[in-house]
Symmetry: C2
Subunit: 350 residues, 2 copies
DNA sequence: CTGTTAGCGCGTTCAT
DNA sequence: ATGAACGCGCTAACAG
């Protein structure tokens, strides 16, 4: 593989001159430019960015660590990140943690070895250990979607608490009193916030007993929690005790719930109402009918990336003046979209 | 950021000794190992893989260039690639071309600059130009899913022709005579092969006129082609001329078709039968009912990666003996899954 | 406008 | 068992 020295030799100039032509940095006479360009062409020269990065101390690579690109929500976030990054000349490495702390840490180590210029992280669990590691390495970091207890950091996330509150209010407004929330894992702030918003609305309505189920943000967990919610009612022996509405706290849980309800022969919304956080993937929307709280996924990715790029500039200009800037927290609004999966409860509350 | 020299200094040894301990290559007394490890810990030292790769001429990175990770089919392929790669100690960079030649070429250039060790490519279009570029740079390449006319290369793909043939035969066996295929872009071998398999079955059945629509592998294109297929019949003024069955040649086209049929009030399978290539994403399968030809997506990714890794070894051991090995073509079988979207035509053929 | 020198951080080669 | 010297390919810093 040809090096810049080969190019320089062929063009009859010094390597640095070739470098200047190739990177259009610094002066070069038109004649020299021609010769260098031709040499590049002739040799099929492709610059070695390893060497370049080693010298220049930047790789033009960002990393996005998330839980699962299989989920269309994250796919959309990823697109937002990629678009914003590539517009600024950066590439993005994607990493799936599957919510596993251990995988997350392995990736972090690898990414820092590769000297990525910045990291966008959807923290798998509430551990702050990983963040300390990143800080120690002086790599700019922006959190995405999830807060971390006791950690001040730049973050872009949505108003999960508020969205959950509104969605619960919507169900209450339709006359539901027994509303069960099917939520994600404790310790994940977006999950906790949605439970909190739900509880606030429930308590405000004077309902003594919230119905909270906690599992994973997966289809199978949504299925199981739904079965549990239905089963608990069956166990009590009184149909009146069955929840009349379910609040699925993400799209995959909603899909699992729909599946479970279908398998149990429970019709939505005739027998039971269903509302969810996050829209379902476009692919399922042959006939959209789920009432949802939608997060601006693309925008989350875009803004987080822009914030990260800002921090890179800060770091570059600040150089060795280690002034501590304050962190930024960007909270994006959640939009409620009413469709047809909610209806007043069929069995009037006694 | 600490370098290996800092570690060496702190441990009171030469840099190379520290290197040997860190990479567990070569000898080192137990006492020295201890000191080095402690220095690493104390300084928070993380090796610089840019420098390491520059020296060792390998990056342990592979690239997967595909058209659209949004499609669950490709997501699954990607998982197969990632699993096989990480098991061998390699990382994967993912790139979306959106079927655009230009994006593909930009990514290729970038990946070669980054000196990835190998490339898995789902070629966007039939151009062979890009492949010549890769060959010239001596980077091992395995094609995925799509052949390239006039190009001999390692490839892992499915039997699209055979699968389409079988699926069409299935429809014919149910008594359908007017079967329309909604296909992908000409020049993309998987699309062309499916049309070919369809045509073979149609001709064998003695049907004079195949009904072929060609568009993109997208939801909107599936929608449009379906409207066109329905509209053509309407235009002819005779319901008898309407297709009684549709063959969607990938999952996104199938979703678009379902949407269009729903919007037009055409019931599946009562009024019209539908079969598709590729299964729908798990997320939509609340109640699976589509009869499909399924490709082993995960396995495609896995085997392609293994083949690529084999080639890396070949290249490493062959060194400068440029023996030309013959290329391998791995063709995976397609499985037909019969469900409930096919039914004999309601309007008997005159 | 162009060239010389040096070094980014690491590991191969050869010496001790 | 350990170390010195060198170079991977490139560009910053400093001439001229």
């Amino acid at each position: 593989m040809a090096t810049i020295r080969d190019v320089a030799k062929l063009a009859g100039v010094a390597p640095i001159t070739a470098s200047r032509v190739i990177n259009t940095s610094g002066y070069a006479s038109e004649e020299v430019r021609q010769r260098v360009r031709q040499a590049v062409e002739q040799l099929g020269y492709v610059p070695n960015s390893l060497a370049r990065s080693l010298r220049s101390h930047q790789t033009l690579m960002l990393a996005l660590i998330l839980t699962d690109v299989t989920n269309p929500f994250w796919t959309t976030v990823a697109r937002g990140v990629e678009d914003a990054a590539s517009q600024a000349g950066f590439n993005v490495i994607f990493c799936n943690t599957d919510e596993a702390q251990e995988k997350q840490d392995r990736y972090l180590e690898m990414l820092i070895q590769k000297r990525v210029d910045g990291i966008l992280l959807v923290p798998a669990r509430s551990h702050a250990q990983s963040i300390r590691f990143i800080r120690q390495q002086n790599v700019p970091l922006v959190l995405l979607d999830r807060r971390l207890l006791g950690i001040d950091a730049d973050i872009v996330r949505c108003d999960s608490e508020g969205g959950a509150y509104q969605l619960t209010r919507l169900l209450l407004g339709r006359g539901h009193r027994r509303i069960a929330i099917l939520s994600g894992p404790p310790g994940v702030s977006s999950a906790d916030d949605r439970v909190a918003g739900y509880c606030r609305a429930i308590l405000e309505a004077g309902i003594p007993q919230p119905l909270i189920y906690r599992g994973e943000f997966t289809i199978s967990s949504g299925y199981q929690m739904t079965c549990a919610a239905l089963g608990a009612a069956a166990g009590s022996g009184r149909a009146v005790n069955a929840p009349s509405a379910l609040f699925a706290s993400n799209n995959f849980i909603a899909i699992g719930a729909l599946k479970a309800l279908h398998d149990s022969g429970v019709a939505v919304p005739d027998a039971l109402s269903l509302a969810a956080f996050d829209d379902l993937p476009a692919a399922t929307m042959i006939e959209p009918f789920l009432t949802v709280a939608v997060q601006p996924a693309y925008e989350m990715g875009r803004q987080a990336t822009q914030l990260l790029l800002t921090r890179l500039n800060d770091a570059a200009s600040a150089a060795n003046t280690s002034v501590h800037r304050s962190f930024q927290e960007i909270i994006l609004p959640v939009a409620i979209i009413e469709r047809r999966s909610i209806r007043p409860p069929q069995i009037p509350v006694v």
